[in-house]
Amino acid sequence: MQEAMINKAKQLLADGTVNRVMGWKRGEFVYDITPAVFETAEEIDADFVCDDFTAANVSKYLVKESRKEGKILAFLKPCDTYSFNQLVKEHRIVRENVYVVGIPGGPKLDAEKIKAKGITGILCVKNENGTLKIDTLYGEETMPYYEAILGKCETCKSRKHVVYDELIGEEGEVITAEDSGRFDMVEKLENMTAQERYDFWREQLSKCIRCNACRNVCPACTCENCVFDNPASGISNKAAADSFEENMFHIIRAFHVAGRCTDCGECSRVCPQNIPLHLLNRKFIKDINAFYGEYQAGEDTTSRAPLNNYDKDDCEPSIVHERGVE
Amino acid sequence: MSDKLKEQILRSSGSNVLKCMRCGKCSATCPSYDEMEYHPHQFVYMVEKGDIEKLMSSDSLYKCLTCFACVDRCPRGVEPAKVVEAVRLAAVRRQGNNHLVPTDIPGMLDDDLPQQAIVTAFRKYTK
């Protein structure tokens, strides 16, 4: 796969279709891969990588990159194409300036999950028939492959590219909510008592260090000036000085991306404290699907976002009181 | 006393007599009208005034068939039959457990009524 991508990139650079390539650059270890823009074939040969750890969603970089001179080649995984499309819809990405090559998606691996097993000194990771063989400073370790799969890939919503100029590999299918199980955890929480839910979220959100990684990686958060950075907004803050602000930040952030969040899962991937932030977004997605009909942000560039739309027969907020557990 | 009684009647009837606009449709519709000394609209009005004793001692109480025609027809939702019923209940309650006193019995005796029925009634309706 990596080989095919490198060849494609070099070809498009050579024939002048694009003048830059958005991809991933290898790092010091097997897993510390950085999104990068390549300008020459030499750079690509030297550092371009696409493997089990190239999980980062590069579509947000295209907001800036698509406004530069010339066309850029972007390799997008299925999930990334949803983010890309949503950004096109919101006029954030200049579509004409991006040459999209769809590439197969995950599942990608999560180094944190390997480390959480107590495996340290990781030098090399290989998947052999469902078993991960890990070379470490302390000898070889093994663990089941599926236990190292990145959280967002465990509940993959689609293997289909919603936008591309060209495709490498075969096109996949959209995965139903039942098959992906992506709302299972939300449902589990919904079925808890209010006190249990409160306790769950207090435990999670109290870990928040307000590093803003979730916001800054989020492809839906592309505001010129975020309300949390804008003292005039009345809600700006730099550190969650108390539990209210922890809640406030995450509620408002989830609300601002509600109906726009494609469920790419980057927020949870990058959270240094492993807070399952995607659950907040998924809660909104689940509610929107249930109340206003199935809606997948980023699926197209024309439909009206559910929060910018209405139906005269929409349910009343009292529905919240009527269902689930208090 | 009558205030308390009025309150009790209003509570047990669940009716708001103040809603009455004195149209008389209840009485217009009442099948027992001619049997009554006090008519449905009067029940409502007299309860409102607190003039309840007259109603309590009137036979009209027992003429109401509880057919609910007045309840159905009343444009204001006053529900006169429920007011009548409430007055009736108040009267029954006042009697206490002794619904039949021995002195009443001779008057009831006649050829058609079996003596056993009277004895049974006396046992049943007396404390």
Binding site: I251, D311, C315, P317, V320 | -
Partner: protein
């Protein structure tokens, strides 16, 4: 649900009312001298769709124990569609607050027309009672703002 034992607890209730229907409805309950608790303080907004979720959270932060939002009945919005957007936004917001374990009875959305003075008063009474029963807002309060 915890029931507040401190009967002296007087909840702070913020009511956002749209100028055209609910605020007029509130005025009407005043004109008709329909009593409702003093706990309720009304903030006038042009339309219920002006109410940002931020304002609702802000109220809880600053010491509100309950927040109620009132607007024109669906279909009667002075601005045609404002309350339809409100309905979606607020449904999702309340659902999210519920998801985070915040007591459901602290938030409410009610449609009150300019003619429904009695409904306004009754709704405020009911809502205040419900919030009073819940006791002070603890799950979504900012301790820094707690009255000393």
């Amino acid at each position: 649900m915890q029931v507040n034992e401190n009967t002296n607890f007087e909840p702070v209730i913020v009511a956002f009312c749209c100028n055209w229907c609910s605020y007029a409805g509130a005025d009407l309950s005043g004109t008709n001298r329909l009593n409702y608790p003093t706990n309720v303080k009304i903030i006038r907004v042009p339309c219920s769709c002006r109410v940002n979720p931020m304002f609702i959270l802000r109220a809880f932060q600053r010491g509100a124990d309950g927040v109620i939002l009132c607007g024109c009945h669906p279909g009667d919005c002075h601005y045609t569609s404002g309350n339809y957007f409100t309905r979606r936004r607020i449904t999702l917001l309340y659902s999210m607050l519920d998801f985070l374990g915040i007591e459901r009875d602290r938030t409410r959305l009610e449609w009150v027309s300019a003619a429904e003075g009695a409904k306004f008063a009754a709704t405020m009474q009911e809502f205040t009672d419900a919030v009073r029963k819940l006791g002070p807002n603890r799950r979504l309060e900012d301790l820094r703002c707690r009255k000393q």
